[in-house]
Subunit: 140 residues, 2 copies
DNA sequence: CTTCATGCAAATAATTTGCAGTAAG
DNA sequence: CTTACTGCAAATTATTTGCATGAAG
């Protein structure tokens, strides 16, 4: 995933420097809040406005380029849209790790939805706990 | 679940009229935002302050009496703490339905966590789609 | 009584908006 | 060229705080 210009064009959005860089940092860091994104991009583009970040995140979520990841007790983070997966959220360090597991959860969620005659569009799974790194640090 | 006074006492919180009513409306409606809660409780207690609702929600979440349910594109809702379950979120009408299914998801989530050496504490599953009621209305 | 909770008003934080100037296609 | 995008500043909305009063145990 490196051709952000192409990605934007497909969504009928102009490929501005600001947008390219928003996508780039989100791609690089995986999951970022609005403020995280602003803080990173402003480093390479000092005249960036926070309002621009807000406007673009809203737009790119609408267009399906970005996905919102709401997190208990924090502000939402955003990630690039990609194949369904779950999030392992560390309550110690705040890190969010993706775990691809479509094949394992897909059937289950469809089954549960059908039981309720619910027409399923999108799933969103967060598991909260302590990541391996923080467990090791706590043990020392 | 009707003895809210008992529930509060166990969490070392005073059983005020405000708190009892917050718990009562959340219990009755299932999932409510801060504003929803305020709007309901102020009906029976007109001098209620929104600040009190905020303070109490924060407190009761800390004490484990309430649970935050973050929802894509909206403000978080809150529900009474209870056995793990998933949420079916209707993107048409906004309704959130609980579906108890611990026995079906528990093993899977533990398995996925172990693969990453992740110490699992809490899970949070939202399925987004269209509820039966809205599907029928759309068809007519 | 004593401590904790409430309501109010003010402070702060988060998000959105309007608009004149700029850049992308 | 033309339309869409940006940055700014102001407006709005959301949340938090401090403090004097009031209620719970």
């Amino acid at each position: 995933m490196t051709d952000y210009a192409e990605l934007l064009k497909k969504s009928s959005l102009k490929a501005t420097f600001q947008r390219m860089n928003i996508l780039s940092v989100v791609d690089k860091y995986g999951h970022m809040s609005v403020d995280d994104i602003y803080a990173e991009v402003v480093k390479v583009y000092p005249s960036l406005s926070l309002a621009t970040v807000y406007k673009n995140i809203i737009l790119m979520v609408e267009k399906g380029v970005l996905v919102e990841v709401p997190i208990v007790g924090k502000k939402s983070k955003y990630e690039l849209a990609k194949e369904d997966h779950i999030h392992l959220v560390c309550t110690e360090c705040g890190a969010v790790e993706d775990k691809m597991c479509l094949e394992k959860t897909d059937a289950l969620f469809h089954h549960l939805s059908e039981e309720e005659h619910f027409s399923l569009n999108r799933r969103q799974v967060n598991l909260y706990g302590v990541c391996q790194k923080c467990q090791m640090e706590a043990a020392s």
